[in-house]
Assembly symmetry: C2
Homo-oligomer: 87 residues x 2
């Protein structure tokens, strides 16, 4: 593995963990009013697109990163529905 591959893995790792602090904060505060529901829906949609892409091009890192992001964004979506009454 060369340095550029390593950089790609590091980027994928950071992208994967992006929503961990957000999920933890939302869980602790039970407050998600400032989170955009559209951001969450776009993240869910994009991870599904990336998952299909990853399976088709056979990219393990993209697959793993997006499974993690999908789980975290589904949690945020659930919090958004639970912690605040939907319109």
């Amino acid at each position: 593995m060369n340095l550029i591959d390593l950089l790609g893995y590091f980027g994928a790792f950071l992208s994967a963990i992006t929503f961990i602090p957000q999920v933890l904060q939302a869980w602790k505060t039970k407050s998600v009013g400032d989170l955009s529901i559209w951001m969450i829906l776009i993240v869910i949609t994009s991870t599904i697109v990336w998952l299909i892409y990853a399976v088709n091009v056979g990219s393990g890192p993209v697959l793993v990163a997006n499974i993690i992001v999908l789980v975290l964004s589904l949690l945020l979506f659930y919090f958004k529905l639970t912690f605040k009454k939907p319109l």
Copy 2:
């Protein structure tokens, strides 16, 4: 361009616009208390890593998508500092 490439571009497009609704909501409400500062910092760091990666592998879509995400996440960081007093 085949269907898989197209899927990759669609994923990159969705990833690029992820934070647009969040920036708009933060700007309208001037309320960012529920946004995790760590999420924003991870996004900024990951986009910088992805930008270096994109330049080195010569990936236009990854470059463009991450420039957009970097600008949006820097805006959220600025909002976070401005709309709410930092600790």
